[in-house]
């Protein structure tokens, strides 16, 4: 076989914590093949094949491995979203955001899968998919609107074919399947439409929710063109993935009768290839696919979280050398695919983005309470109207009486 299939790493540190975590329980993760082409040291395999459902699959047609411009652009996206993440964290620290959800460590999983999407595809994120958002044309500042507390949305999902963040874990997975069923119907009605698929993003923690199961049952039953993209970043806030599953999450797919693959989520080239293959599979009527991107949440769960309470710094350090940016940079440099000028320009671009982001955040319009009454229902609603009138009069009373604080 070309390419390499390395067994998923075993983390001694995690082993210790895991033992501490469960006095009862047979939580142990079986070793499993994980698809990878770009190794942590920056060396790249020439191709990638695997056996899926007993059939050999050659991912080579989907691999960008030899296209220097494309590799640089993947690196650019990852670099920019990491910079975006850092700037957002800073904005939160400075009190400009209520909360921030960092993605550091998951850039390859997100950029790789996001870049695999076609414009006509539609993705359903959870809340950490800033990288995917950027690949869909969502503006960095739009993402921050939610975290500044001025909206629960932030962008027009219909324009970007990228749904709003869904905070109730796993709920969006069913929406993705329903949306895929709609794509299927549209295509039956008009076969000239471009083939399309939807993607459901969710985490290792969310995988335990009943909605994930039901979405896989429906997807299999209707053979819906949907790709389930699970970022197994090892943690659900403070709970290690071993509490959710003792075998690789990719194996869940077997029970529903569709393919499941585990890919090195820190290898942007492999993630992109596998996702492109999966999307092709779904779009062409072959049904759903589950991808488990094996990665690591290098930062806190959110800016409100304190990972030192539950994970050892050694654990975090162990992942440093597998950083998705570091390895692609090493590859670009060692193969002479990008020169110093490229990295300098990128740094400048990132700085400019950060400055623009900061300006945009500081000048964000805050909605007024009155506007909140307008979006509860699409059609007139007497109770909402009555309460709005009450609110207006109540507020006006303060103006009259000068009572307001």
């Amino acid at each position: 076989m070309s390419g390499s299939r390395v067994p998923a790493a075993e983390f001694e540190v995690e082993e210790v914590l895991r033992a501490a975590h469960s006095a009862i329980g047979g939580r142990q993760e079986a070793a499993v093949d994980m698809l990878q082409v770009l190794a942590p040291d920056g060396t790249m395999a020439g191709g990638l094949t695997a056996e899926i459902d007993g059939e050999p699959v050659d991912f080579s047609p989907y691999l960008a491995a030899t296209d220097a411009a494309h590799l640089r652009s993947l690196y650019r996206d990852m670099f920019l979203v990491r910079r975006f993440d850092q700037e957002s964290t800073a904005l939160q620290r400075q009190g400009q955001l209520a909360l921030w959800v960092p993605l550091t460590g998951q850039e390859a999983a997100q950029i790789g899968s996001g870049r695999a999407l076609q414009p006509q595809d539609y993705a359903f994120p959870t809340y950490r998919e800033h990288g995917v958002a950027l690949t869909r044309g969502v503006e960095p500042a739009e993402i921050l609107r939610l975290f500044r507390g001025v909206t629960n949305g932030g962008w027009d999902p219909r324009e970007r074919n990228f749904h709003l963040y869904t905070l109730v874990l796993a709920a969006q997975s069913l929406h993705a399947v329903g949306y895929a069923m709609g794509i299927q119907r549209d295509q039956l009605a008009d076969p000239s439409l471009p083939e399309a698929a939807s993607v459901a993003y969710f985490g290792d923690g969310a995988s335990s929710e009943g909605d994930i199961h039901e979405s896989m049952v429906f997807a299999a039953s209707f053979n819906a063109p949907v790709v389930f993209f699970c970022q197994n970043n090892q943690w659900a806030i403070s709970v290690p993935a071993a509490v959710q599953t003792r075998v690789p999450l990719a194996r869940r797919a077997e029970g529903y009768g569709f393919p499941g693959v585990r890919v090195d989520g820190n290898d942007v080239v492999a993630v992109e290839a596998v996702t492109r293959w999966a999307l092709d599979h779904a779009r062409s009527g072959k049904g759903p696919v589950l991808i488990e991107a094996y990665t690591y949440r290098m930062s806190a769960h959110t800016t409100a979280d304190d990972p030192t309470k539950y994970r050892l710094s050694g654990d975090e350090q162990e992942w440093q050398p597998r950083d998705p940016l570091v390895r692609l940079e090493a590859h670009l440099r060692s193969q002479g695919l990008a020169d110093g000028g490229f990295f300098d320009e990128l740094a400048a671009e990132a700085r400019a983005m950060a400055t623009a982001l900061r300006d945009a955040v500081l000048s964000m319009t805050v909605p007024d309470m009155e506007s909140r009454f307008a979006t509860v229902y699409a059609e007139p609603h007497p109770l909402v109207q009555e309460e709005l009138r009450f609110f207006q009069q109540y507020e006006a009373g303060f103006v009259d009486e000068g009572k307001h604080a």
Partner: protein, 324 residues
């Protein structure tokens, strides 16, 4: 004009919706070949095919959740929940997703999903088949809730639910499915979110909805024999509630009885009593009296007749109201 049962009227209403809008589809458990356990979707799969009338896997969250996804893609799914007591696995999708999508998107997205739920007791059935959970949905903003009490309303209200841009839950009074009435298929019955005064009166008002409407009308007839002129209002819409119609009535009659099968405690009757007590405070000659289920799980079939509000329970409440 045609005579038909409520079940048939809903069937015809669904048929009309399926015919008019190719984006509509039905989803649910056993709604295809079987035509639903109450045969409300009888013949629809035969006539519209398996793509429009979909026997889903057995999972209520899955039904509602995929319906939301279909709606985001421009479809208008009409979901059937098999019985009132089985809606709860789908509660999360209804409450946190379906109801909130419009607000979450600042008005950009709609989810015009219809959820049909046969509800109520009086059918001698086993656990979970006789409940009235409407209050558990009414408290959540973003949803609309209607319940027809006769074939004419049933025919039109289901279609109006389908064409509404907001999500609508249609509670269908299952023990009245075989109640017959005239249906005029030529003109809609007006605003589905308005209450209807079914019987005029001057001394007291009874508000009821769904399965209890015939009971309220019978109670008013019985009261008339005692010389009491009782107005009867069919609420029709539980969210929003047409408080204007109810207030107008109570300011004339001075007394209000609210009847529903759901337990009184925390039920929708409390909302009506509270709001009307506020709106018509100076007109009320007696407190609003609620007639409803007791604070217990719906009891076993052999005693349900003692649990369900009936004519006598409403008359007793009227007696109390007149005693002030």
């Amino acid at each position: 004009m045609a005579t038909m049962t409520i079940a048939k009227a809903i069937n015809e209403g669904l048929r009309a919706s399926l015919t008019q809008d190719p984006k509509t589809l039905l989803m649910g458990e056993d709604i295809g070949e079987l035509g639903g356990v109450y045969r409300v979707t009888d013949g629809l799969k035969r006539d519209f095919g398996a793509l429009r009338v979909v026997d889903s896997p057995l999972a209520e969250s899955g039904i509602i959740g995929t319906a939301i996804g279909l709606a985001l893609r421009g479809y208008r799914p009409i979901c059937e929940i098999q019985f009132d007591g089985f809606v709860f696995p789908g509660f999360n999708q209804i409450t946190t997703q379906l109801a909130k999508l419009r607000t979450r998107s600042d008005g950009m997205l709609s989810a015009p999903v219809v959820i049909r739920i046969p509800y109520g007791g009086g059918i001698g059935s086993v656990e979970h088949h006789s409940e009235s959970p409407e209050a558990l949905f009414a408290h959540t903003a973003g949803l609309r809730i209607i319940t027809p009490s006769n074939p004419q309303d049933a025919y039109w209200m289901i279609q109006q639910a389908v064409s509404c841009e907001d999500p609508v839950i249609v509670f269908e009074p299952k023990r009245r499915y075989w109640l017959k009435g005239e249906v005029d298929t030529s003109a809609p019955a007006g605003d589905p979110f308005s209450a209807h005064v079914l019987r005029a009166g001057t001394d007291a008002t009874i508000v009821a909805y769904g399965p209890l409407v015939p009971v309220a009308l019978a109670a008013a007839s019985a009261a008339a024999e005692d010389g009491r002129s009782v107005e009867v209002i069919d609420l029709r819409s539980i969210s929003p509630i047409d408080f204007d119609t109810v207030t107008e009535s109570v300011t004339r009659t001075g007394r209000l009885i609210v009847a529903h099968e759901a337990p009184t405690f925390g039920g929708i009757g409390g909302e009506i009593a509270a709001r009307i007590s506020e709106r018509a405070f100076l007109s009320l000659e007696a407190p609003v009296i609620r007639v409803g289920g007791f604070h217990m799980p719906y009891p076993v079939a052999r005693v349900e007749e003692h649990y369900l509000p009936d004519i006598d329970r409403i008359l007793e409440a009227l007696d109390r109201a007149f005693a002030y």
